[in-house]
């Protein structure tokens, strides 16, 4: 089963890391992702720009365009991993491994995928 591991944290705090600190965290996380990739379990991974760069389009008869994310939350969605897991247990294990590597606050939300289109775009 494919799981989306959604990473939530306080984007102000994460954004205040220096480049060296950021690189160090990414380095530790990449140990986990490389292992997943090696096992053929890793799908697309992406990191989002801060919510200040976000725009919301509300559905309706006339689509309403709003600045920022729709929900005002204390923790923001910062990035997503798509991972192939046997089931919830393995998904939880994977998220725990990522959590140990990132050693920050925040949380991971595990959401099974119902549709997956890998797509074919280059980076940002």
């Amino acid at each position: 089963m494919l799981y989306a591991i959604l990473c939530y944290d306080n984007e102000d705090v994460v954004g205040s890391w220096s480049k060296e600190e950021d690189d160090a965290v990414i380095g530790k996380l990449s140990v986990v992702t490389e292992k997943l990739a090696h096992a053929g379990r890793l799908g697309p991974v992406f990191r989002l720009l801060p919510t200040t760069a976000a725009t919301t389009v509300r559905k309706g008869r006339e689509a309403l365009v709003l600045d920022g994310p729709f929900a005002e939350t204390k923790e923001q969605l910062l990035g997503v991993y798509i991972v192939d897991c046997e089931g919830l247990e393995e998904a939880v294990e994977t998220a725990q491994e990522l959590a140990r590597a990132s050693s920050t606050n925040g949380c991971y939300e595990l959401r099974p995928l119902s549709l997956f289109m890998p797509g074919a775009v280059a980076g940002p």
Partner: protein, 417 residues
Amino acid sequence: MNAEPPDPTWIDRTLVCARPQVVGALLRYFRDLEKAEEAFQEACLRALGHWPRNGPPRDPVAWLIMVGRNVTLDHVRRQARQQPLPDEALLSELEDAETPLADRLDNADYRDDVLRLLFICCHPDLPATQQIALALRIVCGLSVSQIARAFLVTDSAMEQRITRAKGRIGGGDAPFETPGPVERAERLESVAAMLYLLFNEGYSASGEQVRDRAPLCDEAIRLTRLLLRLFPAEPEIMGLLSLMLLQHARQKARFDADGGIILLEAQDRRLWNRTMITEGTALIDKAVRHRRRGPYQFQAAIAALHARASNPQDTDWRQIELLYRGLEQIQPSPVVTLNRAVALSKVAGPAAALELIDPLADRLDGYFHYHGVRGAFLMQMDRRGEARVAFDRAIARARTPAEAAQIRQYLDQLANP
């Protein structure tokens, strides 16, 4: 609550990031800046004691406000001998009480609290450098010696300056009422101007100062991002953040090994920070949708056009010239016209550009860039004698060795064609 204790860096960063909101809210409670800052310090000390043991609170900002307020109120009661001392158990119950508080302290409160805190730093009686120093101390929480280093003065001189500035703003006329829409817009404008000054203090540094002053750019970006989070639909704040990001993205490419300035056209564009450019570009795209033009948006749009060009030849100078024209309309200034002339020279040649700036001679005579740009136009037209005179004038008006060195390169080109 997290079972694992948070790591110390996380706690430090959280306290730094929470500072504007917490000091802003405490200032609203106490109506006294000194008291608000002390209460914040006290709350941070408690956080350092509690968070590693009990795990971080769900909403650190609300926790700090609550603790800061209660600790100070307890202190006041204790002094008045009205109440027995609070015990530690009472304090830990605060964490359970944070949820209703968090609900009450919604975005609207934070928004005006942070704006007020920034706005009192922009007191019109204070010169710009003192406004910036005050914001760095009060809002960012930088130490006096960090600020002193950035402003190239001694610690004690900066301490004095900040104390004096605080005395000025603490005169009791701080605006505690919730602002109306017009006032709020005015406050935002003053605060935006101060944040851009703060950014420029960092951005204008060169040579050995870069190390101490570049962090001012990061602080300005951090505060502007916070402001935009609180006022998410303000196109000028989007424009300002976009402008800062697009300019700061070039940081690594702007200086040579000796700290000399590398002009935009000669920069190694592979050194530009792509993430900042992407974010800056996304922000200006968002801002433009609002169709409420403003000077920061124009400048950001110009910076975005430079950032989009993967080499100098691909720069869309025609569009840049049009944008400067728009900026000239809403904010007429000889410096903007001078910048437009540079763009014009790329699309219509140096003669047209020279014609545009000749009428500015009186107003810009003391300005380094005026003579430098004029010399460059004259050089392109092969009017070498006049070019030399213009470059000599530029050198005489250079504010930094880096600026003078830049003009000497032109003089060398004139001497050895």
